[in-house]
C-alpha cells in the first residue's frame, strides 16, 4: 500500500515539474543565503579565535623596550628575579615576492600554542629535538608551505591550520638565525601564573614598558556589528525563502486534494498518508537544503575575500580569504531547511489531515477565509506594541532586538489590512467599470498574494534599513576621519629624546607641530586614555563634538576642563556640566563630548599644560604635522633620512584616508550583493504566488473577457496589478525601513558598541530601490501575463460550460 501511495504522490510532481522546481528552489534559496552568511561568520570567527589563541595576543600583557628590542640579559635577569615571561622575536621575512610575519617563540617556556598542540596530537609527532635544535622547523598556514619548501635555505616547513594567515611560527632559536637578530627579543609575554613575592618591574627592568593585554576582545565586539548585519540579512533571506515554500506547498496540497480523497476512499488511513507526506517533505527539504548548501558555499566563497578584506582593514581583525566546509554550518543549514520546510507546510498538512473524506476538490473552498486581514492586522499591531513595550520596560541589546523584531513582524502582518483598506478606498472612488473590476479583483487576490507581499515588505525594509545604516556609518566615518585626521603627516619617534629633536628640527619648517601625548589612567569604567593637546585652530575648527558647553575650547585649553569621548560619556553617563575624577588630585569639569568611532576604550582630552601636571613622565614621541599637502612627500623623505625612522613611523593622512575609503567600498560590495539577492528572493516569492493563483485565474477572467476586454488588455492589466501591489508595498516599506534604520543606529549600535551614529537619508537610493522593485514585480507577473495572453478562447469558453 505504501508503495502505491508513494507512486500516487510522486505522480503529482511528475505532472507539475515547475512546481517541484519552485519548491526546491525556494528551499535552496532560503538555506543558501542563510548558510552563506553562517559560513562567512563562522570563518571569520574561527580566524579571530585562531589569531587570539595562537599568539595569545589578547590574553597576555606584554613587556616592550622603547627601542623595539630587548636584550637576552634583560630576559634572563627578569627570569632569575622570578618573573614568568616568555620571549618572542618577530620580524618580516621575505619569501619570494611575499612578506610573511616570522614569529619566533621560546617554545620551551611559552604556554601551549594550538599549532604545537595539534602537531603533537598527530600520529607521528615530530621529535622535539628537531623543533628546538638546528635547522629547526617552520609551522605555517597550508597556503604558505609550498612557497617555503621552495626555499633551499629555510628549515623544513610543516603545515598547520591553527595559525593565523601569513604568520610563520618557529622556535626563537630558529627565528633569530633567519631574521639575523641573534640574542634579540621583540617582546616578552607576561605569563598568567606568577610566583609569590617577585620584585616590581621598576627594580628589575625599569627600562621596559608594560602594555596591557591588547584589545582582542574589543575587536570581537567591533566586528560583531558587521556580523550582526550579515546575520540579519541571512535570517531575512531565510524567512523570505520560506514564504516561497509556504506558497508552493499550499498549492501542491490544494491540487492534491482530489488524489488524497481518492486514496482515503480506497482505504488508506490518514495517519499513514500523513507520515508519508511528512517523509516526502523532509526528503524534499534535504534535497533543497543540500542544493542550498552548495549555493551557500559558492556564494560565501565569492563574498568571503571581500568580507575578509573589510574586516582586516576596518578592524585589523585577521581573517582568511579561504573558505572551509565546517560541519557547524552544514548541519545547522540542513536543520534549518528541514525545520523551515515543515514550519512552512505544517498548516497545509494539518488542514489536509482534517479534510472530510468525501469533500469536493474545489480550490476556492480550500483557500476559504482562513486568514482574515483584520485578525492578522490586529495581531500585527499587538506584536509591534509588544516590541515597544519590551523596549520601554527593559534595557539592553536584547530589548533592542525585541523592538526590531516586533516592529518588523508586526508591520508585515499589518500589511494585508493596510493594502486592503487602500484598495477599498480607491474602489470607492473609481467610476470606470474596468478600474472597478481591477480593484475588486486585486482585493480578491490579496489573501493569496499577501504572504509574498509580506516577504517583499520585509526585504525592502531590510534593504532600506541596513542600507541607511551602512551609508550613514560611511558618511559619518568619512566625515569623522576628515575631522580627526587633520594633520597631513603623523610621526612616531623612537623615544622622547628623539621626539624633542624632531620637534625642534620641524618647528621652523612646517605650519605647526602638534604633539600627541597620552597616558593610560584607571577609571571605574575601565582604562581611560588621557591625551594632551596644544592650542591650535586645527582642534578648535575641526574636532567632532556631539555635545558641548559654549566656548568649549577656551574652557578646555585655558580653564582646565576636559573633553571626553562618547563611549566614556555613555558608559559613565557623564555629559557637559558634570565632572570626572581622573585621580586623587584632579577632578575636571567636562566641557564637551566628542565622537570616537572604532575605539572601544574611554578617552579624554585636556590641555598640554594640565596633561604635563597629571602625567609628567608620559613620553613625547608622537606628533601631528600641519603642512601644505604638496610638501608632504618631500618632508617625509627628509625625516626618514635624517632621523633613520622606520617607514611605519611616518604616516600620511592621504594614505590612511584612501585605505579607509577602499575598505568601505569593499563593505558596500558585500552589502549590495546581499541586498540584490534578498530582493531577488522576494521577487521569486511573488512569482510563485502568482503561479499559485493562476490555477483559479481563468474562471475570474473569463466573464470579463466575454464582456469584451481583449486578452492583450487583460494581460497588461495583469502586469499592472502586480506592479501596483509591489509599488504600494514599497511605499509602505519606506517608513518601515527608516524605522528599522533608526533602531539600528540609535538603539542597537548604542547598546552594542557605545556610540550613536547620526542618521543620513539617501532618497536617490530609495528611488533606485523602487525601480528595482517594479522591475522585479513586472518580471514576476510576466509569466502569468504571457500565459493569459496565449490562452485559447476555447479554454475560456469552457469555464462557462463547466459551471465552475
Amino acid at each position: 500500500m505504501t508503495r502505491t501511495v508513494i507512486q500516487a504522490l510522486w505522480s503529482h510532481w511528475r505532472w507539475h515539474r515547475i512546481q517541484l522546481a519552485t519548491l526546491l528552489i525556494g528551499i535552496a534559496l532560503a538555506t543558501g543565503l542563510w548558510s552563506a552568511v553562517q559560513a562567512i561568520n563562522a570563518e571569520a570567527r574561527a580566524s579571530y579565535a585562531r589569531a587570539n589563541q595562537q599568539l595569545a595576543l589578547g590574553q597576555m600583557a606584554m613587556l616592550r623596550h622603547p627601542s623595539g628590542h630587548i636584550s637576552l640579559d634583560t630576559y634572563v635577569n627578569l627570569r632569575r628575579a622570578g618573573w614568568q615571561v616568555a620571549a618572542v622575536l618577530e620580524g618580516r621575512y621575505r619569501v619570494g615576492d611575499r612578506s610573511v610575519l616570522l614569529t619566533g617563540v621560546d617554545l620551551v617556556s611559552y604556554p601551549p600554542l594550538p599549532a604545537v598542540t595539534r602537531l603533537e596530537q598527530e600520529e607521528a609527532p615530530p621529535d622535539p629535538a628537531t623543533m628546538l635544535t638546528a635547522p629547526g622547523r617552520l609551522l605555517a598556514p597550508p597556503d604558505l608551505v609550498p612557497m617555503l619548501q621552495d626555499q633551499p635555505d629555510l628549515p623544513p616547513a610543516i603545515a598547520s591550520t591553527a595559525l593565523p594567515p601569513n604568520v610563520v611560527l618557529t622556535d626563537i632559536g630558529v627565528a633569530e638565525t633567519l631574521l639575523n637578530k641573534p640574542g634579540e627579543i621583540s617582546r616578552l609575554a607576561i605569563l598568567p601564573d606568577q610566583p609569590r613575592g617577585i620584585a616590581p618591574l621598576s627594580q628589575v627592568a625599569p627600562e621596559l614598558n608594560r602594555q596591557p593585554p591588547s584589545n582582542s576582545v574589543d575587536t570581537t565586539r567591533l566586528t560583531d556589528s558587521f556580523h550582526l548585519n550579515l546575520s540579519a540579512f541571512g535570517l531575512l533571506s531565510f524567512a523570505v525563502g520560506l514564504f516561497i515554500v509556504h506558497g508552493t506547498v499550499g498549492l501542491a496540497f490544494a491540487q492534491r486534494r482530489g488524489m488524497v480523497s481518492s486514496l482515503r476512499a480506497m482505504g488508506v488511513p490518514m495517519g499513514t498518508l500523513s507520515r508519508i507526506i511528512l517523509a516526502e517533505l523532509v526528503g524534499l527539504a534535504l534535497i533543497g537544503g543540500s542544493m542550498g548548501l552548495l549555493l551557500g558555499f559558492f556564494l560565501a566563497g565569492a563574498l568571503l575575500p571581500d568580507v575578509a578584506a573589510t574586516l582586516r582593514g576596518l578592524y585589523g581583525a585577521p581573517v582568511d580569504g579561504q573558505l572551509q566546509l565546517r560541519s557547524g554550518w552544514v548541519l545547522t543549514g540542513l536543520g534549518m531547511s528541514i525545520a523551515g520546510t515543515l514550519a512552512a507546510s505544517g498548516y497545509a498538512l494539518w488542514r489536509l489531515g482534517r479534510m472530510p473524506v468525501l469533500s469536493g476538490p474545489g480550490l476556492q473552498a480550500w483557500r476559504g477565509r482562513s486568514t482574515r486581514a483584520v485578525v492578522t492586522g490586529l495581531a500585527g499591531v499587538g506584536l509591534a506594541l509588544g516590541g515597544v513595550v519590551i523596549f520601554l520596560l527593559f534595557d539592553g541589546l536584547v530589548a533592542g532586538f525585541a523592538l526590531m523584531a516586533g516592529i518588523l513582524t508586526g508591520s508585515a502582518l499589518l500589511l494585508p489590512l493596510v493594502l486592503s483598506s487602500i484598495l477599498h478606498l480607491c474602489a470607492g472612488r473609481a467610476r470606470d467599470p474596468v478600474r472597478q473590476w481591477v480593484l475588486a479583483d486585486m482585493q480578491a487576490q490579496l489573501p493569496g498574494l499577501s504572504l509574498a507581499l509580506m516577504a517583499l515588505l520585509l526585504a525592502l525594509a531590510a534593504n532600506i534599513g541596513v542600507g541607511t545604516m551602512v551609508s550613514s556609518f560611511r558618511l559619518t566615518f568619512v566625515g569623522w576621519l576628515d575631522q580627526r585626521l587633520m594633520a597631513e603627516l603623523y610621526i612616531t619617534a623612537k623615544d622622547s629624546d628623539q621626539g624633542l629633536e624632531i620637534e625642534t628640527w620641524l618647528t621652523p619648517r612646517v605650519d605647526a607641530v602638534l604633539p600627541i601625548r597620552n597616558v593610560e589612567l584607571d577609571h571605574p569604567t575601565g582604562p581611560l586614555f588621557l591625551y594632551g593637546v596644544v592650542d591650535h585652530a586645527t582642534y578648535r575648527d575641526n574636532w567632532p563634538l556631539v555635545a558641548a558647553v559654549p566656548d568649549v575650547w577656551t574652557k578646555v585649553l585655558a580653564d582646565g576642563a576636559i573633553l571626553i569621548n562618547e563611549q566614556l560619556a555613555r558608559r559613565a553617563d557623564l555629559w557637559p556640566g558634570d565632572s570626572i575624577a581622573l585621580n586623587a588630585d584632579h577632578t575636571l569639569a567636562i566641557a564637551g563630548v566628542y565622537s570616537d568611532y572604532g575605539n572601544p576604550t574611554g578617552q579624554g582630552i585636556v590641555s598640554m599644560d594640565l596633561f604635563g601636571r597629571i602625567a609628567p613622565n608620559a613620553e613625547n614621541r608622537r606628533f601631528g604635522i600641519r603642512i601644505a599637502p604638496e610638501r608632504v612627500d618631500e618632508l617625509a623623505a627628509d625625516l626618514q633620512n635624517r632621523f633613520d625612522l622606520d617607514p611605519g613611523a611616518i604616516i600620511r593622512q592621504a594614505a590612511v584616508k584612501a585605505q579607509s575609503m577602499a575598505i568601505f567600498e569593499k563593505t558596500f560590495v558585500v552589502t549590495s550583493a546581499l541586498n540584490i539577492l534578498t530582493l531577488g528572493v522576494a521577487g521569486f516569492a511573488i512569482l510563485t504566488s502568482l503561479l499559485t493563483l493562476w490555477t483559479q485565474r481563468l474562471p475570474q477572467v473569463a466573464p470579463v473577457w466575454a464582456m469584451g476586454l481583449t486578452l492583450s488588455h487583460l494581460s497588461k492589466l495583469e502586469l499592472a496589478r502586480s506592479m501596483v501591489l509591489a509599488f504600494l508595498t514599497a511605499c509602505l516599506a519606506l517608513p518601515l525601513g527608516l524605522a528599522l534604520a533608526w533602531i539600528l543606529l540609535a538603539v542597537i549600535n548604542v547598546e552594542a558598541f557605545g556610540w550613536r551614529l547620526p542618521m543620513h537619508l539617501f532618497p536617490s537610493s530609495w528611488v533606485q530601490l523602487m525601480l528595482w522593485t517594479l522591475v522585479a514585480a513586472a518580471l514576476a507577473a510576466a509569466l502569468p501575463a504571457w500565459r493569459l495572453r496565449r490562452v485559447p478562447p476555447a479554454d475560456l469558453l469552457r469555464v462557462f460550460a463547466n459551471e465552475r
Binding site: 632569575r80 609527532p125 629535538a129 623543533m131 635544535t133 633569530e176 613575592g197
Partner: protein, 344 residues
C-alpha cells in the same frame, strides 16, 4: 611548550616505550652510556654532564615546624639533552625542568619551571656549586653547605642545609643497575643534611628544622623497554641508619635495588630481590589509585616496616605526573622519609 613534547624530551625512555621501539641505544644517537668502574671526580661531577641524556639534582627534606607539625619539601632540577652537547645561545639542546613542592598534613603545593640551557636562565655550576632555574636556587659554596629557595604562586621556602657525613654511592661504587638487561645510571647521594629555615604558606611563615637527602643521578638509558614505572624510597631511621630502596615495575617482573647506609656513613648495596615491597592500601589521587601504605621488608637485614604517606594526596600534577611526598616509618624501625612513585 606542551606536555607531551616535553615528556618525550625529558623522559625519552618512557616515551620510546610508549612508541613501541625498545632499546634505544644511547650511543647510537651520540650520547655517552654509563660504564662500570667509573672514577668520580669532585666537585666536577656535581656539575652537569651534557653528553648524557638525562640527569637530576633531587633534594627532599622531612621537616618539623615550630608548630609541631610535619612538613615535607622537594626541590628538583632535571636536565634533559635533545643532543649531546651544549652551546651558549637559544640553540642549546639542553632542556631544564624544575619541580618544587611543599607538603603539609592537609595540603600539597607544587610548581614547575622550564627553561633551556645556553642562555643562563637555568643550569648548574660545580665550583662554587650552584643549581638554578629562574629564581629557584640550590647553592653552596660546596655541596655540603647549601641554601635552598623556591616559590610557587601560593607557597615557597628558604632553607639552609649542612651535611656532615660522606657521599654515598649506590650500586657498584655509583654504577647503579636498573634492569636485568643491564641498563644503568651513575647514582650517588648525600643523605645526611641538617635543615633549618622558613616555609612560606598561604597562612603565614613557619620556621622549620629537619633532615634532607640529595640524590644525584645521570644516565642515557636508565630503564628497560618493559619497565613502566618505579616506587622509590629514601628512609631515615631513628637509630641513624638509612635506606634507599627502589622497585622498577616491569612486564618481565620487578627489578629491585637498595643501599643500606649505616649511621657512620658507610654503606652496602643489596642486590635484586633482597627487598620485598607490598602495597597494602591505595588512595584515590588525581583519578587513579596510588599505593600510599606499604610494607617493606628485607629479611636479610631484619627489617620489616610499614611506610605510610603523611599526606596521601601528594600528587605532582606537573607535565610529567607522579606522586612524591613525605612518609612515616613504623615497625621494626621507626623514622621518616620520602616516597616517589611513577607510572600509576
Amino acid at each position: 611548550m606542551n606536555a607531551k613534547l616535553l615528556v618525550c624530551a625529558l623522559f625519552w625512555p618512557l616515551a620510546a616505550m610508549a612508541q613501541g621501539f625498545a632499546g634505544l641505544g644511547g650511543s647510537a644517537d651520540g650520547f655517552d652510556v654509563p660504564q662500570p668502574e667509573y672514577q668520580f671526580e669532585f666537585p666536577a661531577d656535581h656539575g652537569p654532564h651534557p653528553s648524557y641524556r638525562i640527569e637530576w639534582w633531587y633534594l627532599t627534606a622531612n621537616l618539623t615546624g615550630e608548630d609541631g607539625r610535619d612538613y615535607g619539601i622537594q626541590w628538583t632540577l632535571f636536565r634533559s639533552a635533545l643532543k649531546p652537547f651544549e652551546t651558549a645561545s637559544w640553540q642549546s639542546p639542553q632542556i631544564w625542568m624544575g619541580h618544587a613542592a611543599l607538603t603539609t598534613p592537609e595540603r600539597h603545593f607544587f610548581a614547575e619551571r622550564l627553561s633551556r640551557g645556553g642562555i643562563g636562565q637555568a643550569g648548574v655550576t660545580a665550583d662554587p656549586f650552584e643549581a638554578w632555574i629562574d629564581e629557584w636556587r640550590m647553592a653552596g659554596p660546596t655541596l655540603q653547605t647549601l641554601t635552598l629557595t623556591a616559590n610557587g604562586a601560593d607557597f615557597g621556602y628558604d632553607l639552609n642545609l649542612s651535611a656532615s657525613g660522606p657521599l654515598v654511592f649506590h650500586g657498584e661504587n655509583g654504577f647503579s643497575v636498573k634492569s636485568a638487561d643491564g641498563q644503568a645510571s651513575y647514582y650517588y647521594s648525600q643523605p645526611g643534611y641538617a635543615v633549618q629555615g622558613t616555609l612560606h604558606l598561604p597562612d603565614g611563615d613557619v620556621a622549620v628544622t629537619g633532615s634532607g637527602w640529595l640524590d644525584r643521578e645521570w644516565s642515557s638509558q636508565p630503564l628497560a623497554a618493559d619497565q613502566s614505572g618505579w616506587d622509590w624510597f629514601s628512609l631515615s631511621f631513628e637509630d641513624g641508619d638509612k635506606l634507599m630502596a627502589f622497585r622498577l615495575r616491569g612486564g618481565r617482573g620487578d627489578y629491585t635495588s637498595a643501599t643500606w647506609i649505616n649511621a657512620d656513613g658507610s654503606s652496602r648495596s643489596l642486590p635484586d630481590g633482597s627487598v620485598i615491597f607490598t602495597p597494602l592500601e591505595t588512595s584515590r589521587v588525581a583519578d587513579r589509585d596510588v599505593p600510599t601504605d606499604w610494607r617493606v621488608s628485607i629479611p636479610g637485614e631484619d627489617l620489616d616496616i610499614r611506610v605510610r604517606a603523611q599526606n596521601s594526596q601528594a600528587w605532582m600534577g606537573t607535565r610529567f605526573q607522579y606522586w612524591e611526598g613525605p612518609v612515616t616509618v613504623s615497625g621494626s624501625h621507626n623514622g621518616r622519609g620520602y616516597l616517589e612513585m611513577t607510572g600509576y
